[in-house]
Amino acid sequence: MKINEDNPITTLVSSVVAPFIMLFGLYIVFHGHYSPGGGFQGGTMLAASIIIIRLALGSDIGQLQFPSRLGTPLGSLGVLIYFSTGLTAMFFGGRFLDYSFLPVAHTPSHQRSLGILFVEIGVGLAVMAILVAIYDDLLGEESDD
C-alpha cells in the first residue's frame, strides 16, 4: 500500500488522534468495575487505534508500530492469563475460577474484585491482538523477516 501523499488532512488527523484512542481504550478496560466497559469493549478500542494507523499512513509505518508477527502470540498470551488465574485459584485450595482464594487481598469480596480485573486484562489483550491479526491476514500484509 502506498502512502497517499496528497491527502494531508487524513495523515495529520489520524496520527494525532490515535494515541488518545489507545489511552481511552485502556481507561475503558480498567474502569470496567465502575462504568460501562470491560474487556471486550476496551480491546476493540485498542484494536481500532492500531488499525487507523494502518489505514491512513500505509503498511510500512504500520508494521513499525505493531508488527504482524505479534498478532497470534499475543492472543494466546491473553487466553493464558485467563487460564492461569483460574489455575492459581485451584492451586490455593478453591475450585477452578473461584477468585476468593487468590492471595492478593484480605476479604473475599476484594479478592473477587481483583480477580475480575486480572481476567478483564487477559480478555482485552486477546481481543486486541486477534482483531489486528484478522485485519492483517485479510489484506495480506506481512512483517519483514
Binding site: 465502575y34 462504568s35 460501562p36 471486550f40 481481543v127 482483531l131 484478522i134 491476514d137 485479510l138
Partner: protein, 126 residues
C-alpha cells in the same frame, strides 16, 4: 388495545429487520451480499434480547453511589445484556472467517456469483 400496541411495537420493528437480513441471505446471488445479510440478521437478534430486558422508570444496571438498599424495580435486567456481549463477539468472529473463505474461493475460481460458481463446481465434478 393501546396497551398491547405500546408493549409490542418494538418487536414488530425487530421482525422487519430480521426479514431484511433473511431476504439478503436467501435471494441475493453474490456471496458478499449474503454475508452482509447474515450480519444484519445477527444484529436483529441481539436487539431483540436487549429490548426485552427493559423496565419502565428504571436506570442502567450500575449501582448508584452511596445507596444502601437495592430496589430491584429501579435497575433493568442485566442478564440478557451479558449474553448479548458474547453474541456480538461471536458475530465478529463468524464474519471474519466468512470473509477469509470468500478470499480463498475467489483465488481458486475467479468469480463470486453463486450461479457461475455452482456451474463450475458441477463441471469440475463431471
Amino acid at each position: 388495545m393501546i396497551d398491547f400496541i405500546i408493549g409490542h411495537y418494538s418487536y414488530w420493528f425487530i421482525a422487519a429487520l430480521l426479514l431484511i437480513g433473511l431476504y439478503g441471505m436467501v435471494i441475493k446471488k453474490n456471496l458478499v451480499k449474503k454475508v452482509i445479510g447474515m450480519s444484519i440478521f445477527q444484529v436483529s437478534i441481539i436487539l431483540f434480547f436487549v429490548a426485552s430486558a427493559s423496565k419502565w422508570n428504571a436506570t442502567v444496571p450500575i449501582l448508584e453511589k452511596g445507596s444502601h438498599s437495592v430496589d430491584i424495580a429501579s435497575y433493568i435486567n442485566p442478564l440478557p445484556h451479558t449474553l448479548m456481549l458474547t453474541a456480538i463477539v461471536v458475530g465478529v468472529a463468524t464474519s471474519g472467517v466468512a470473509f477469509a473463505l470468500i478470499i480463498r474461493i475467489f483465488r481458486s475460481y475467479r468469480t463470486l456469483e453463486e450461479t457461475t460458481l455452482m456451474k463450475n463446481l458441477n463441471d469440475d465434478a463431471e
